[in-house]
Symmetry: C2
Subunit: 336 residues, 2 copies
């Protein structure tokens, strides 16, 4: 049977600070024919995401840490090539969470059929039309309570989530939308392609100063992917009654030293601010409404996106490391 | 006419760090007979509160800074001794915000009649039955969304607000209630008098360690009067979906150096926490419901309280400084 060999990337040990290749092990698995109820899937795209760094540590967290010797789980989309489960016949496109592997065979219940949408590439199901887009939507609506005319600041705005946040915010009626990114090219993309009204390079100077200049009337909603000095800067610029949606803190993910927090937490009291952390896993109930809305926006040509694609399962670790260092614009994907 | 001389304490300059006597000026004002519409009030009690330190600085904040050369405004209760306003005849007990003065004469609209409640001293209107109690109630209910059985941690629990928070939390159905204070005497009072299930002295060791021991099953609601290491400790102990009501940050009020914030802000995301700062001034609409509830609890003998009383308007500055340094148990008041 075809595709019976699978290349899989496991966690070999828990990274300290920035992950290195030695923290992972690549293994080959040979599958027998699917047992009754099983399917075999050849992946088309595998996702690498910032949250995965968290699962590589064993800190108490909202999802269990990856097990040492286990495959790095995460989003992927592929096609059924062998099936012993009638609900997922050969040829079906499926979404799943089996992660960093080129071929995966498992019980059919672990895969979800993902009917193709004419004119939209399957890869979108791993970002704008999937978890990434839902994260942006939930953060802006359920968490930050976005209101018509709000000034919105997005940190790490050229990442997968950030490029979704800016566009969704504008489509939902935000006023001024401001983003930060780490290269001049990304900053240009934010205003030229992603609908941001203003953007700055956080390496060009203090975030606090640059944000204050970009948002002279203050910030009503902060969507944070970075933490650290971005959070402190946002607190300094927040308007009374402002809302902070904390989605990611990539600044701290690879830190080995204790990171000092914002020095201006008292702004929470003096400006009656609300800060809420969230993870999209608790908001799947909003997926149907989001998917309908987002598909409509795509059909109307209202959503731009970028993909940074790396080819081959063997390059997954490099793709992950590059993404953590900001090498991607938009969504980082591994194409099998 | 009697009581025509008034002693008033003004802000002479903005304090740097801990306030000193030289930051204030005591002046004597002689009043003419009340003009039509005016009343003259002799204060019985004058309040000194932590928030006043904030108004002495000129930082942008939720209330305007005190003006240099202006009287320190704040809560007080007194009795009308001369009246040219029929709605407030001589003898009426009134609440007002004229602050640090023994006698005050002004338009009747600046005073609010405060009918005496049989058996309850007037001073309670400046704390448990007034702004202090309302602050505790609003923080627990509207801000933290207290639920039956929640474990609650209160920092600075032996202060005016803290002694109210512990008792109200228990009366509203909280499970375990834990408090911190800065002396062994205060710690004892928390469990013996104020209904706390556990308490510790934050000077005895790391707040983080002591809180983890006192709350082995974690914290659901944090009511913060202190900030700093208390906030960091609370973040470390918060259960998933926990709520943090930030009421005060006395640890930072007199700081002249930049204070590092919590090093564990990422807990906001990993545990889906909500943190909200508030000031009671935005929640006066809840005062009638609170007053009815609290008066009932008092009548049923369910509320304990302490007052630390300093006599004489000339000792107001010392009372304020002592309160900032934690010399009070319960409410610090100046009796005229």
């Amino acid at each position: 049977m075809s595709h019976d060999m699978s290349t899989q990337i496991q966690l070999a040990r828990r990274p300290k600070g920035w992950p290195v290749h030695e923290d992972f092990a690549t293994v080959t698995v040979e599958y027998a024919d699917p047992a009754p109820g099983e399917v075999r899937v050849v992946n088309e795209f595998v996702s690498v995401d910032p949250y995965m760094r968290g699962r590589m540590s064993d800190a108490r967290s909202y999802v269990a840490p990856y097990e040492i010797g286990g495959v790095i789980a995460g989003g992927a989309i592929g096609r059924v090539v062998a099936s012993a489960a009638e609900q997922l016949p050969v040829g079906t496109v499926v979404l799943h969470q089996h992660g960093w592997t080129d071929v995966i065979q498992a019980d059919a219940s672990k895969f979800r059929a993902a009917p193709e949408v004419t004119g939209l590439p399957n890869s979108l199901r791993l970002h704008m039309l999937g978890m990434t887009g839902l994260t942006a939507y939930v953060g802006l609506t359920a968490i930050a309570g976005l209101r018509e005319g709000d000034t919105v600041f997005v940190s790490g705005a050229a990442g997968a989530v950030g490029t979704a946040v800016g566009q969704i915010a504008k489509l939902l009626g935000a006023g001024r939308v401001i983003g930060s990114a780490g290269t001049a090219e990304k900053v240009a993309l934010l205003t030229e392609k992603y609908g941001y009204d203003a953007a700055f390079n956080y390496k060009d100077g203090l975030v606090r100063t640059q944000l204050a200049e970009a948002a002279p009337a203050g910030v009503d909603v902060f969507f944070d992917n970075v933490g650290g000095d971005h959070l402190e800067a946002a607190l300094a610029s927040m308007n009374r009654g402002g809302r902070l949606a904390l989605c990611g803190a990539i600044a701290a993910y690879n830190a080995t030293e204790r990171q000092a927090g914002p020095s201006n937490m008292s702004k929470m009291i003096t400006e009656s601010l609300t800060m809420q952390g969230f993870t999209v896993g608790e908001h799947w109930d909003k997926a149907p409404a989001f998917t309908e809305l987002m598909t409509g926006w795509f059909m109307d040509g209202k959503i731009a996106y970028d993909e940074t694609i790396v080819d081959g399962i063997d390059n997954t670790i490099d793709a992950f490391l590059a993404m953590m260092q900001g090498a991607n614009t938009g969504k980082m994907l591994v194409r099998i």
